[in-house]
Symmetry: C2
Subunit: 102 residues, 2 copies
């Protein structure tokens, strides 16, 4: 289990996974993403997006149109997180059952 630490260093945090999932669900614009994640604030979202970009998990594209659009999308690399996310999802379902009964 030595390498769990390495994973956590990248994807740990209250929001990173949720942002990745939001992007995988097709949200691309800043405000879309913000609205898709309950309770996140724009300051935190802006910061986390920068973080994720630095870690090459997402890309930020500015479209030179009128009005200027900024689009975020996941890189191919994020697909490698699929299994992690699936297991977290499964465990979440399970845990919810345990806590709230049935």
């Amino acid at each position: 289990m030595l390498y769990v630490r390495d994973s956590l260093d990248v994807i740990n945090g209250k929001w990173k996974m949720m942002i990745l999932i939001s992007l995988m669900n097709g949200n691309r614009r800043f405000t879309e993403i913000e609205r898709s994640i309950p309770k996140i604030t724009s300051k935190v979202l802006a910061k986390e997006l920068k973080d994720l970009e630095e870690n090459q998990l997402i890309t930020r594209t500015v479209h030179d149109s009128y009005p200027v659009l900024v689009e975020y999308s996941t890189t191919a690399y994020v697909k490698t997180l699929d299994k992690v996310l699936r297991e977290l999802h499964n465990w979440g379902i399970n845990h919810r059952k345990k806590i709230f009964g049935k």
Copy 2:
């Protein structure tokens, strides 16, 4: 991916997973655990152990011996996290390869 949030609420944080892994590896005493996790401080460890206990992921047993011993161990429930941890481990290996090259 709706339930990832529920999982994160419980096992998120810089240290929780590492503490669970340490316990799964056989460490049971406060100081053992502390020594097994680089850079964790006793204050943070004490707090996280309380958290994990409240979430019923670990148990704390005080042995009324001389000297008094305190032992921590994971509950059966933690076994359900096995897959999550395994995937995080795998991804960590993979990520390390990507960053440092093979």
